[in-house]
Symmetry: C2
Subunit: 342 residues, 2 copies
DNA sequence: TTGAAAGCGTTACCAC
DNA sequence: GTGGTAACGCTTTCAA
């Protein structure tokens, strides 16, 4: 059982208040006493007791604001599940989670929503937003005003965010290529359906994918590339056209949402057995397509874990007295096939 | 913020002591008062505060005994890592973990080691042992004497253990077959190397494997099956013989430990590019063989999570006043290839 | 600059 | 049967 403040106080011959001041680097302690106390705390291997801290902290409960875009994109529901899980887990530790969702990816809308969380009294933020200059400087201002920020699912380069919690998109692309390379394809005639050519994560997946295909010397021909705009309705037509124009397509790499639309075209043409389909994430429609054998592999990024973990890291950061800056948490790149999908 | 005992006491017009007695179903409270208190607790949605409980519980710290066999089998090291992680995580909540390891799978040795943990004052057990009648009745006696038991990695059928934390071996086998079915093999000439024909988990994997191969109508011929006894040295010879006798073997299914020995034979014959190798778990030698491209797939079962989770569930069980029996926790069946292995 | 005390929610124990 | 109180470790506030 580790030493307590009381024991340190007794050993140092001072009061608990003084020890507390020293341990929190607060002013008003004579330097030599401070040094002495620090020495003893060190010798005794002091580790603050979380239960005690939490109990005392109940007077100032922690309100964490969470912001997610893409209302209507089922993927984010899992992140929300993670937020809620963590909220339930830490409820009796005084943690509250306030969630703000918006539709689409408009910068001004995002800024307004995040500002709304702050106005509602949130003392910390977990956000997934777009990586533009305007957002970055807006968040940097918040951070400087004392509101710590963790980026979830998408990082914001060059901000002073505490840390990033999310997947390694490059690796995600690489894993897709690695799987394909093991399929022993005599020749890959490849269709790539990305979400948006403007979204960094999607582009990184494609970069990782093609790099690994080259490294592995997989013979392939890129037949076509187009965007799905994360929309199942929209993507159906271009997929249909591409498949009809190129009867030799034997692999479709779906980089983001829109898989259901792509697969509808595939099955309507009855070509599901002659085409390898790889996709990302585990929304319910994707899961069903995997069960049905239309999608061969889907590559997950543990979205629930992303939500849960970001709240936990923020809580721990506050518990450490904002002393210990959390490390990035890169979630797993999880391969799912019919047999290990839920 | 949920209601506290203090608030309930005030609302019911009784003392905190009385509320505490009611909430813990202890005797010595007039029935009508008890009912009244219960009513109010319900209305106020009372949830006990963990921080408070933990603090008060520091007077009786919880010592959990963990037993694992297979010293020398690197797999269990990861389970130990999980135990230690949880111990560190819960140290300031008064949790201590006492670990006992033995070599091999002798029933009497196991019983002696587990009894040793109890004698050392452990109030709860997390164990991985063999599923024999003798072990089962020994553990049932311990359980009846008031020591809760969680089975880790291997379940004990028909015991009164709290719950099982570990993988679904049947599914593990099924996933291996699912992967193979996607390799488009014209015809599979299959070598199966199991750990031991006496170990239930290994047999279940094989059962899941062959069932799924049949379901998927994968054309295959079983060339040979033998045991590795989890021993890299031992398994080398039989593998060499089988490979030489059957130059048409194009797939090896390694059901348990011994993968390094099997792969040594494969590479010495220079046949790594013509043979699909599937294995289980992620010990360092396996990882290296995956990186080297000798093993194509290895299927993990999250051993660290198994260790961590079993301690956590036991702690939560004690925290609930031994009221809430935890559910089985089946860890993921994780597919690893070169690109997503660490 | 330091000490003392109250309070967070729970449990345990002693007194009535 | 019931109430009161001390204790767990920590933070905060007030007093000296």
């Amino acid at each position: 059982m580790p030493a307590t403040i009381k024991q340190i106080a007794a050993a140092a011959g001072v009061s608990r208040g003084t020890v507390d001041r020293v341990l929190h680097n607060r002013s008003g302690v004579k330097p030599e006493i401070a040094a002495h106390v620090r020495q003893i705390a060190n010798d005794l291997g002091y580790e603050p007791n979380r239960a005690g801290k939490i109990l005392a902290a109940r007077k100032q409960p922690l309100k964490i604001g969470c912001f997610l875009p893409g209302i209507g994109n089922a993927f984010y529901e899992d992140v929300v599940t993670g937020f809620r899980q963590a909220e339930a887990e830490y409820a009796d530790f005084g943690v509250t989670v306030e969630l703000s969702r918006v539709e689409g990816y408009d910068v001004q809308t995002h800024i307004r929503a995040i500002q709304g969380l702050v106005d509602a009294g949130c003392q910390a933020l977990c956000v997934s937003t777009v990586d533009t200059h305007e957002i970055r400087s807006f968040l940097n201002r918040l951070i400087e005003s004392g509101i710590p920020v963790i980026t979830v699912n998408t990082d914001l380069t060059g901000t002073k965010r505490l840390c990033y919690v999310g997947s390694d998109y490059l690796r995600g692309g690489s894993v897709a290529a690695g799987l394909l390379s093991m399929m022993n394809p005599s020749r890959l005639n490849l269709l790539i359906v990305t979400g948006s050519l403007k979204i960094k994560g999607h582009n990184e997946r494609i970069r990782g994918f093609s790099r690994t295909l080259r490294e592995k010397k997989v013979p392939y021909r890129l037949v076509d590339v187009f965007e799905s705009l994360d929309n199942d309705e929209y993507v159906y037509q271009p997929t249909m056209q591409a498949l009809c124009a190129h009867p030799d397509i034997n692999c479709i790499y779906i980089v983001a949402a829109g898989g259901a639309g792509v697969c509808r075209a595939v099955t309507e043409l009855g070509r599901q057995d002659r085409i390898y389909v790889l996709s990302y994430d585990e929304i319910e429609t994707t899961r069903q397509l995997v069960r049905d054998g239309v999608i061969n592999f889907t590559i997950g990024q543990e979205p629930v874990e992303q939500g849960r973990c970001s709240i936990q890291l923020m809580f721990d950061y506050y518990m450490s007295g904002k002393q210990v800056v959390p490390q990035d948490h890169i979630t797993g790149t999880v391969i799912k096939i019919k047999e290990n999908i839920d």
